[in-house]
Every structure is written in structure tokens, then in C-alpha cells.
């Protein structure tokens, strides 16, 4: 089986030769390819080069056309501060609490900010490995993008101060996600992962998720399905147990779960949905490869009867993680199958 066949089988809860491994390797790929991080983050050719180098080195099952969480807000007009060795941060948010989002156009993925670099990377990745490896794009979920457009504090205050305006910001963010995600599919992504960390229940209560996020995420996933996504993948880091049962109703086919969600609880909440997770990110920095392999083996045991599982980390694997710790993830899946 190649990676694509392995993932397709897993999504359908069918037997595969081994459990697929999708390591959340983003900035770390730049180190593998010996590309300075700030170049990797601003150039689609280098993003693809880094992802391909990491794929070759580790032999896992997916590559990501993903730069960082600030691509969309920069495309709308926020100013970023780039440093040589870290991800950029927003220096000046484009929106204020008084902004009318109707006065802004949804950014054009073909020309706005670094969006074209993402699309270029996806085209390269699709051409190079897309026939056998899952090519994953990424968009920010609606509330996460609002926090990037306004700043987290302002976004949260709006929930109480001006809910109608918040809703209009989230509609703008939803349109942005749909437009960018559809362009990613057109450029070769098998699917755009929806990254919505701000909807974590450590940030907002379940009632917020139900009212603001649920209908908009459903709209995003509907649009991606229509555009040809092979599956819909939702990634919300942190605690999510109370909102997990709503995922299938939104059209989610792969649900990510972080280290704070026990695997058995994830299975209980989503008995028929493919799950991916959940080794603590920091483990990749602080533990030995043997410890990671043991933790991965324990996860594989939990899911061995059920299936429908992709071995992964709880969130991004820190870019500075030792290579042998990422290799241990794949080794665990291979050994389990043999």
C-alpha cells in the first residue's frame, strides 16, 4: 500500500498494511532541508523542498502546504514581524473592534500576501508525490482568523460588547477560509485541514462553539466537499470533549485530538469518525526516541481493534525537535504492523 491508499483505507475503517503516520512537521522541515526558517516561510519552492526532504527522511504519510498561522491575516492587510529563526507574529492587526468587514474584500489567493506561495508549494507537492502521498493544505478556522485579524483580547471582548459585529467578522473569516481552501484544492491539495485552535474549550465555552463556530465550520466543510476534498479534517488543539459529538454533523471525517483528550474518551465521543493524535508536542523535545516509540505503541494498542486511526502528535512537533524522535513515530507504526 502507498500512503494515499493507507489513509483512504483508514478513513473507511478498512484494514491497511499499517497505521498511517501524519507527523505535524512544519517549521522542522526547513531544518531537515537546511533552509533558513524565514526563507522557508516566505517561498513556496522552499516550503515544498523542505516538506519533500522531511518526507524522504522520515517516510511518513502526508506532506503539508502550510507556512504558519498568519498567512490569512497578512493577506487581508495585517503587518507581520519576521524574525530569522521563529515564526512571524502580527505586529499590527488590520481590524479594530469598529471595523466594518464589508469594507474589506476577501483576499485573492492568487495574489494576496503569501497565499500564492502556499499554492505554488501545493502544486509542486502534488506533482512530486501527490499520486502516492496525502497532500494537505491548511486554512485557519473562522474564530482563529478573527483573533488574528483583531488580536485575541479584542476578539474575546467582542463576544460581550458587540456580538453582531463578531458574527460579521466570522462570516468574513469563513468566506476567506472557503476561498483559500478551494484554491488549495484547485492547486493540488487532497484536502485543506481546518486549523481552529481558538475554538478550544480552554479559550471559549461550548455555547460559543455551538453558536458561532458550528454553522460556519459546516459551511466551510460543505464547500470543501463540493470542491473535491477527499475528506474534511478538523484540528482543534486543547480540551474539546464536550463539542466532539457535533463534529460528524459538520461533515468532519478526520478529527484531531490533543494530548489532554484521553484516547478512550475520543473513541467514546466519536465512535465512527477517523481520529488522529495525540502525543504531547513537548515530548518530542524532552523525551528519548525510545520513550516516544513506547508512547506511540501504547496508542496503537488502544486503536488496534477499532481502526480508523492516524498516529500523530497532539499539536505541531516543535521545529527544534531531534530527528530521531520523529523517526520513532514511524518506527512504532512499522513495528506494530510487522
Amino acid at each position: 500500500m502507498n500512503s494515499l491508499e493507507r489513509i483512504t483505507a483508514t478513513l473507511a475503517f478498512r484494514k491497511s498494511d499499517r497505521v498511517p503516520v501524519i507527523a505535524q512537521v512544519f517549521g522542522h522541515a526547513a531544518a531537515v532541508a537546511r533552509i533558513p526558517l524565514n526563507e522557508y516561510l516566505q517561498n513556496g519552492d522552499k516550503l515544498a523542498q523542505g516538506q519533500l526532504a522531511a518526507l524522504e527522511r522520515y517516510g511518513y504519510d502526508a506532506v503539508f502546504g502550510f507556512l504558519d498561522a498568519n498567512v490569512e491575516t497578512e493577506a487581508v492587510g495585517s503587518t507581520l514581524y519576521y524574525t530569522p529563526s521563529h515564526y512571524p507574529v502580527v505586529e499590527k492587526h488590520i481590524f479594530t473592534a469598529k471595523t466594518d468587514p464589508a469594507s474589506f474584500a476577501v483576499p485573492d489567493p492568487l495574489s494576496a500576501g503569501r497565499m500564492p506561495e502556499v499554492l505554488r508549494a501545493l502544486r509542486i507537492l502534488k506533482n512530486e508525490v501527490g499520486s502516492r502521498t496525502l497532500v494537505v493544505g491548511c486554512v485557519l478556522g473562522p474564530f482563529s482568523l478573527v483573533t488574528q485579524l483583531l488580536g485575541m483580547e479584542q476578539a474575546l471582548y467582542l463576544v460581550q460588547d458587540d456580538p453582531a459585529r463578531l458574527a460579521s467578522f466570522m462570516d468574513f473569516a469563513t468566506d476567506t477560509a472557503i476561498c483559500f481552501g478551494q484554491a488549495q484544492i484547485d492547486s493540488g491539495a487532497h484536502l485543506p485541514l481546518v486549523f481552529e485552535p481558538a475554538a478550544s474549550l480552554s479559550v471559549v465555552p461550548p455555547s460559543f462553539f455551538e453558536k458561532y463556530d458550528f454553522p460556519r465550520l459546516r459551511r466551510i466543510f460543505d464547500a470543501f466537499s463540493c470542491a473535491g476534498a477527499v475528506a474534511n479534517w478538523l484540528h482543534i488543539a486543547g480540551p474539546i470533549i464536550p463539542i466532539m459529538p457535533s463534529f460528524p454533523c459538520m461533515g468532519v471525517h478526520i478529527a484531531h485530538f490533543d494530548y489532554c483528550v484521553p484516547p478512550l474518551e475520543a473513541i467514546k465521543q466519536l465512535p465512527t469518525t477517523c481520529l488522529d493524535g495525540n502525543i504531547k508536542s513537548l515530548t518530542f523535545l524532552h523525551s528519548s526516541s525510545a520513550e516516544i516509540e513506547a508512547e506511540a505503541a501504547a496508542l496503537l494498542d488502544v486503536f488496534s481493534e477499532r481502526g480508523g486511526y492516524i498516529l500523530s502528535s497532539g499539536c505541531e512537533i516543535p521545529p527544534e525537535s531531534p530527528a530521531e524522535n520523529i523517526a520513532a513515530l514511524v518506527r512504532a507504526a512499522v513495528r506494530k504492523a510487522s
Partner: protein
């Protein structure tokens, strides 16, 4: 009796309603209750209620931000032109987000909670160098240094803090850490005295150091 009159203020803070909280504080002051009594029996009591919710895992950033804003507005009203209560403080805490990390929301929340619990907070800000942090600690002689971190690249810096304090003869100052990245680790992993799971967890630790057993203090 005093507690009963504080209920409106407590409820408004817990619900994150700044305007209502300030209105209640104004009424209490008009009735002759001192600013210090309002802080101890109202603001700190609201913090204790929030702390209990946090322990029950029913807490989230949205609620704490709204409550924090309400507390800040009430404090501004009670102590115009001064960010800290005029009454006695339980101790000083130095807070920072270290060099390379410009995310200071978590630090600011800890600051609000500590200030509302009658601690004096010296805020070294975000992207703070170790040199600046140590200098502030030397100057302020705090109970503790608190470090907030959202990203993993600051971990090597966090690991140096305690050793640097020892080098500067400040080995009596405790170091605690928290934030999305740091709370995944352990005191040994970060070379600190305590890793806080939440802002209130940090408050409990500082309370222990100050000899107080509850969020509301004595």
C-alpha cells in the same frame, strides 16, 4: 452584612460585566465602604469564585478575560491613577515573557489575578531579556518570578533563570512557569520550582509562598 452587600459586585465580576461591576463599586463607596474593604470582600471574593470554577474545569479564556477586564475597571475606579491597591500587599511578584516570545496574554491574566488578590506585580513585559529579568528581581526582592511562555524556543532561556538567580545571590526567590508551551513540561524539565496548569494554579503557588492558604487570603 458586608458580604451580602458585595454580592452584586461579585456577580458582575464573575459574569464579566465591567459596567455593572463599576456601578456596584460606586454604590458601595457611596455607602461609606472603603476601597480596601471592596477589594478584600468583593474583588478577592469574586476571584475565589472564579478560582473554584477553574478547579472544576469549567473555565476558559473568554470568561477570565471578561472578568479580568471588570476587575481592572473596578480597580481603576477605586484607585484612580494608580494600578495597585493602596493597602498592604501580600508580597511582590516579578512577571515576564522571555526574549523571542511576544505573546503576553497569559502573563497579563496572571498579573490581573495576582493584582486583584493584593499582590504587587512588577511586569517586565514581553520579549524580556534574562538580563532585564534578573535586574528587576535584584531590585524588587520578590517572593517569586513568574515566566509565561507560549512557544517552545524560549525553553532554553527558562532553564537558565534559576541558575542565574543563584549566581546573583537570589536563591531565595522561587521561580514558577506557565503558558501553553511551558505547562506541558515539568519543574525538572524547565529547572523551575513550580509549573502552573492555569493562572489560578500560579496564584495558589504564590499564596503558599506568602503563607496564605486560599485565594482570598486572610
Amino acid at each position: 452584612m458586608l458580604d451580602a452587600r458585595m454580592q452584586g459586585l461579585i456577580q458582575a465580576i464573575v459574569q464579566g460585566d465591567s459596567k455593572e461591576a463599576v456601578r456596584h463599586a460606586q454604590n458601595l463607596k457611596t455607602c461609606g465602604i472603603t476601597a480596601q474593604e471592596i477589594v478584600v470582600s468583593g474583588v478577592e471574593a469574586a476571584m475565589s469564585t472564579l478560582d473554584e470554577k477553574c478547579t472544576l474545569e469549567q473555565f476558559n479564556l473568554l470568561e477570565i478575560m471578561l472578568a479580568g477586564r471588570a476587575v481592572t475597571e473596578v480597580m481603576k475606579f477605586l484607585y484612580p491613577g494608580d494600578s495597585a491597591p493602596a493597602g498592604p500587599v501580600k508580597g511582590t511578584v516579578v512577571l515576564a515573557t522571555l526574549e523571542g516570545d511576544v505573546h503576553d496574554l497569559g502573563k497579563n491574566i496572571v498579573k490581573t489575578i495576582l493584582t486583584a488578590s493584593s499582590y504587587r506585580v512588577v511586569d517586565c513585559g514581553k520579549d524580556c531579556s534574562l538580563r532585564r529579568l534578573i535586574a528587576a528581581t535584584e531590585k524588587e526582592a520578590p517572593l517569586a518570578v513568574g515566566i509565561s511562555g507560549l512557544i517552545t524556543p524560549v525553553i532554553p532561556l527558562v532553564r537558565q533563570v534559576k541558575d542565574l538567580l543563584v549566581v546573583h545571590g537570589l536563591d531565595g526567590v522561587r521561580v514558577f512557569a506557565g503558558g501553553a508551551a511551558l505547562k506541558q513540561s515539568s519543574p525538572q524539565g524547565l529547572n523551575v520550582d513550580f509549573v502552573a496548569e492555569s493562572a489560578f494554579d500560579g496564584l495558589h503557588y504564590v499564596n503558599q509562598l506568602a503563607g496564605h492558604s486560599a485565594a482570598g487570603g486572610p
